[in-house]
């Protein structure tokens, strides 16, 4: 169609350059605990906007990458995992050893840190395999410790929390509530770091209970087909993405393209219900009426402003009303940029990516579960801001979270000019290739280290456990409960 909007890539790059070059305003203070996430939104967006061969110069010069990676690594914690923000990271003590508070290491921050390290890898020299920027991307990451720490974040029911804390008189506690996001992130960190080491081989680290995690996720489907933190709560598109994404990652081969709809994803109990629920998240976005002057009664109307119902149902068959297609996160909730991504990504992870793309009004062949053209118009005409970036609601200011997931939504819908996007790991597909090579190098190093210690008989798995006890003593003054239980 003639009047389709275009994505102004340069404008979005200007927005991200601004975010990268100057401190974020104090409105972001509530995200201080997760600056690693903010950093991921920025660097990931830049990567989405600058696919190789596009001729777009990245606002992050190659010379800066090393110092940015150093910053990420500076938040790695001695007990495994990464801190979410330098305001929480504890300084080294007088002996030069970094002070430890187990709760500083945070599960989401750890995924964002690994994604950032891969996104910020040095470019490969095309023909020189010896000078491999991708393979060096995870240099400095303590793979074994992070995987062991990850294992401790799993609860007996299979779910994951985000942080560990020793509570006086109560022992170790897995903090962070019952939240599907942590389940997804645990599966992602596992996929990024584990590799294919078999039990008993050098480099082996005990895995968490993947069956328990899958059981927990599969039991969280709700009566209407969606996914929630548990089957007893309201389903939510973000959680649905996380549930499906986690199942897909537990099944995913360690390299190459994911198997479309792996066996775990196929074992979702009510698959037709899930697809109906996901397809129901899109709705026709109708313009709100002109705001009335002196409207004092607008305090709580935000909920309806973005979710207007037609006067008559047949109005929805009128083509002029079909221009903008928004997504909400829950039934009868308002339009929000990020849900186009969560819904689109969830459908792609279900193995229905081929059903994405195309749309009704642009005359493409039917067979799409998400109205690509309408969703695209909604994002570009209603959510994109004139300074670049995307907002949460129509007419709002942009923020880094929605600006990033607006781009991710367009990328997963196949927007030309953007990087090919991996819906499972939420980074460009080329970044996943970096992760694979970086992981292989890490695993190789761990193998070599274990072989060497086997050779001279200095380090055995039992000794590693002993180290963990010592660590627990340092942190809490007592042997950690999780070790005594075994």
């Amino acid at each position: 169609m003639a009047d389709e909007p275009t994505l102004d890539i340069d404008r979005h790059l200007r927005y991200w350059t601004m975010c990268l070059r100057s401190p974020l305003p104090h409105h972001y203070l509530s995200s201080d605990g997760n600056r690693m996430a903010l950093a991921y939104f920025m660097i990931n967006s830049v990567a989405i906007l600058t696919p190789p061969g596009s001729g777009k110069p990245s606002p992050i010069p190659a010379s800066d990458r090393r110092s940015l990676r150093r910053w990420v690594l500076s938040l790695q914690q001695p007990g495994g995992g990464f801190a979410g923000s330098p305001t929480l990271a504890l300084p080294p003590g007088p002996d030069g050893v970094q002070a430890v508070d187990a709760s500083v290491a945070n599960l989401p921050a750890t995924l964002f840190a690994l994604q950032l390290l891969a996104l910020l890898a040095d470019d490969d020299d095309d023909d020189d395999d010896d000078n491999d920027g991708a393979a060096a991307a995870f240099d400095g990451v303590d793979r074994a410790r992070t995987l062991r720490w990850l294992r401790r974040l799993q609860r007996p029911d299979g779910s994951f929390g985000e942080a560990l804390k020793h509570l006086p008189g109560r022992g170790w506690f897995v903090g962070g509530g019952y939240d599907m996001r942590y389940c997804y992130i645990a599966a992602a960190v596992r996929w990024i770091l584990r590799g294919d080491v078999q039990e008993g081989e050098p480099g082996w680290v005990d895995d968490f209970d993947t069956h328990a995690l899958a059981r927990y996720i599969l039991s969280s489907q709700t009566y209407d087909g969606g996914f929630a933190g548990s089957s007893q709560e309201e389903p939510h598109a973000g959680y649905a993405y996380c549930a499906i994404g986690a199942l897909a990652l537990l099944d995913r081969p360690i390299s190459g393209h994911p198997r479309p709809g792996g066996t775990l994803v196929a074992s979702i109990r009510d698959r037709p219900g899930l697809i109906r629920w996901l397809a129901s998240r899109q709705f026709v976005y109708l313009e709100p009426p002109e705001p009335q002057e002196d409207d004092d009664d607008d305090d709580d109307n935000d909920d309806e402003d973005n979710f207007r119902l037609p006067q008559r149902l047949s109005d929805l068959s009128l083509t002029e009303n079909l221009r903008h297609v928004a997504c909400n996160g829950r039934t009868n909730k308002v339009a929000d940029t990020c849900y186009t991504w969560w819904v689109g990504g969830a459908l792609a992870n279900l193995g229905l990516g081929a059903e994405l793309g195309g749309g009704v009004a642009d005359g493409e062949a039917p067979g799409v579960l998400l109205d690509r053209a309408g969703a695209r118009r909604f994002l570009l005409e209603r959510m994109a801001h004139r300074i670049g970036g995307f907002s949460k609601h129509p007419g709002g200011p942009p923020d880094v979270y929605h600006a990033c997931f607006g781009l991710a939504a367009l990328a997963v819908l196949g927007e030309p000019g953007l990087s090919e996007f991996d819906s499972g790991l939420a980074v460009p597909a080329r970044t996943v290739r970096v992760m694979e090579r970086a992981r292989a190098a890490l695993v190789e190093r761990d193998r070599a280290r274990d072989r060497a210690s086997e050779g001279d008989g200095t380090k055995r798995p039992a000794e590693l456990a002993g180290e963990a006890v010592a660590l627990g003593l340092a942190m809490a003054g007592k042997k950690p409960a999780w070790l005594s239980e075994r």
Binding site: R70, W71, D101, E233, E234, R276, S280, R330, T331
Partner: protein, 655 residues
Amino acid sequence: MPPSKKGGGKGKASQASTPPPPPPLATTTTAAEDKVTSQGGATTGKPPSKESDDESDSAIGPVLPSSSTAAPTDPLPATAALPEPRTVLERTRARFAAARPYEARLIFGSRQPPPTLAEPEEPGPGLGGLKDLEPRERAAWLATRIAARIARRPALSATTTTGGAGAAELARVACGGGAKTVREAWKLVNEGSVPLRAAGEKQLLGAATAPTPASTGIARRRREGASSRGEPAPAGSLEARTIAAAEARWERRVRLACLLAESRCFRAQRERETRGVRDDRTGEPAVVTEREVVEDKRRRLEIAALRRDMAAHGSGPASRAAGKIASNPDWDDVVPVVLEEPAGALASIAYPADYAEAMSYLRAVMKANEHSERCLWLTEHIINMNASHYTVWLYRAAILFALEKPIAEEIEWLNEIALANLKNYQIWHHRHLLVENHFPSIAADPAAVAAFAASERRFLERILAEDTKNYHVWSYRSYLANKLGLFSDADELASVERMIDDDVRNNSAWSHRFFLVFSHPDRATPGAAATEPDPKAPPEMVDREVAYAQAKIRLAPQNQSPWSYLRGVLVKGGRKLGEAEGFAREFVTGLGKGEDEEDVTSTHALDLLADIYAEQGRKEEADLCLQRLGQKWDRIRLGYWEWRRRGLGTEAAAA
């Protein structure tokens, strides 16, 4: 909707609901009150606005007469008749009346003039204040106004003009009159012996009543709550504060200022000592003696006590400054760990100074693994600035348990924090942890459990009234119902039913109802999935829920929530979808019979019919439903409906 407009609307609304109380001295008619407002606007050029009560002391301070009013030819009545003012406001009004006699007459009306004024000849019937004044008085009043402007303007241009002639000329231009007007004005002022400076009118009009637009959720809610209940002026406000209290406060402020200055000198000296600075005259190195250290410690203890005291008696700069940790002697032994951002730091945030300070102390005490009262206070201080630090919440929990704090009190404290941070989820994780640790202490006592359930429900209803679909609140509510066993609790069911009655589209409430009904331990198979039949679900309960959903669908047929609920109930009850065929057909007429005859009032009915027909093997009819959905009634989901058609495996769909 931009937030600024929203804030403005709130401010307006609360202002309208709380008119400033009439000044105690002007207890006359409504007309007189009207006059107060209009005259206030006319004389100051802006409506009375909120003033911090701390500023009132200085504003009412010395009323300086102009240099030309030294002559004691006072035509005004003596102030001997002045009754002793009791409160600061009364004193301010008396001073105003003394300083601006005519304006006081205009503002307070003539029927009951302030005690400093002579009885007027006639009570003014509200025809405009000036009429109440005698011509002589009127002229004097006008002259003071003109003279006041003249007195201000030349001063501004003093740098550009050299001689008095220039100033006079400018003054003449400034007041828009000729040189003669200026002379006349000064003459009248001299004759009337009227002072030129006086208290502002805002102090006069009950300063503490106008709301400030920018305020935190808790403070605003408390204030709105207080004013809407028509409570008397708070104890710290200008109306209620007695002169003795105001003077005592003033003394404390002076004392505080002195202490702060001394303490600053001490710190400067200590700084000089560390840097090895030598005295300019004597050449001696700066030294801080042990005694001075002890003295400063005592000094800062007194500062902290004074600040606590002043914070307890009204807000103001003193209580705002109370958050400063570095000058608080409780924290003397802690060396803050300041954050230094290295080059290459990503996503740095412009931290406010208070926040950066608090975080540097947090790092220090967390490093030392300290569990103490002051650390508990520090976590609260940080949470008030940023409630989403997972680590701070876990640290707070550790301190609570280490100090064996009563958990019920912590839950109470958490209520206000949650109300001020509706979208925060760490708060709910914390609440979850608290309840996990509180429940064992009440589990054996059914009355205590019921009381706890009731108090939690009161709070949940309060917070859901502000944000009816808040995800964290509903998740917690589901957890709580499980923990406390609220499945048969009539109040819990009624509470959720009320929310559906209020908004039949509230899907959170629908989800909670499904959970309460179908997860009841007596009527559910443990571990049964939400999407599979449960033989333990009693048929009469299933019938009741089917009827409930259908009644709500009739209220709003295009509302997906009860349709999803209806399907869920049928599946749980092990029923065929076909049971709802008759009901679903109510919303569909003349399907496939052409544009004129076909009407659909709910796409969800058509969707359900498609599944019902497919269930019964009536594929062609199912296909027609899906086709019409994609072609007409739900075009944006054409791709989805076509995908469903392919799943039917009919010839029509394959074609």
